[in-house]
């Protein structure tokens, strides 16, 4: 059974640390990508959701489902033009649900999470994981996309927000090489 529900987004504070801690503790095979990954590297550019590429194996779908239920995730249908409310579907987020969602755009009690099996710019979990770095958050180690992969991804996506983020990412890469 599923139920459409309107959620007041003013009551949902984006807390990426809590999201990543729950996902990390579940042992789910994910690589954090996008704006939150850039933030973890030191970029000051704000983002409003957490993106991750996940391994599409049965056991991983199970772990992801368990952690997303802990986060009280609901399938995000739409966000109003003024960003004040969201429409979600309240349904059991299990492995089968996740497998059919690509990407899985979810509203959790700590903000929006996008879980995908593959992204159009770099590739799937294995592609992102190849040069991912390990970051410790609240005692949990998580995999975070490398600066090189983030730059490649932003260059290929080439939207306004990607172009705005690139100078910071390139500067971070230069500094890491110094």
């Amino acid at each position: 059974m599923s139920l459409l529900e309107t959620v007041d987004l003013q009551a949902v504070s984006f807390d990426p640390a809590r999201i990543l801690t729950v996902l990390g503790r579940s042992g789910a095979e994910i690589v954090v990508i996008g704006g939150v990954a850039a933030t973890l590297h030191g970029s000051p550019v704000a983002t409003a959701d957490a993106d991750a590429v996940a391994a599409r194996t049965e056991s991983n779908l199970q772990r992801l489902g368990d952690s997303l239920r802990q986060l009280e995730a609901a399938v995000l249908v739409s966000i109003s033009v003024d960003d004040r409310t969201a429409t979600v579907v309240r349904q059991e987020i299990d492995a089968a649900t996740l497998e059919n969602l690509s990407p899985a755009r979810l509203l959790t009690r700590h903000g929006v999470v996008d879980v995908m099996w593959q992204d159009a710019t770099v590739g799937d979990y294995d592609d992102w994981r190849a040069d991912a770095v390990q970051v410790s958050i609240a005692g949990t180690t998580i995999q975070v996309a490398s600066l090189e992969s983030l730059i490649r991804s932003k260059e290929r996506a080439d939207r306004d927000k990607d172009r705005a983020a690139l100078p910071f990412l390139r500067a971070l890469l230069r500094r890491s090489e110094e």
Binding site: Q10, F14, A17, T39, P44, D83, A138, F168
Partner: protein, 96 residues
């Protein structure tokens, strides 16, 4: 890249050289990366092959952006996420 563009356009090196007004050997050098054409010449080559050359100049970070970057680099990853959470809260209040 130049070679694949030329091959896609089904134009020989000799024909491309003739249309652009350079020696065939020069086209070969460009394709092998042994020499770089000027932007004007590259634009002419690309247009001859039916393409469009986009040139984008990017500036580096401003002094303010560099300061902001320094500030974030001085933080731990957890502190950076806290800062992101705080920014998100500010944006939420601005909407209200």
């Amino acid at each position: 890249m130049l070679r694949s563009l030329r091959q896609q356009a089904e134009v020989s090196q000799r024909e491309l050289a003739r249309r652009v007004g350079v020696a065939q050997a020069r086209i070969s050098e460009y394709e092998r990366g042994h020499r770089s054409p000027s932007v004007d010449r590259l634009d002419r080559i690309v247009r001859t092959l039916g393409g469009v050359l986009h040139v984008r100049a990017e500036s580096g970070l401003s002094a303010e952006d560099r300061q902001l970057l320094d500030l974030h680099l001085a933080m731990t990853p957890e502190q950076r996420l806290d800062a992101l959470r705080a920014m998100s809260g500010l944006r939420g209040r601005a909407r209200a």
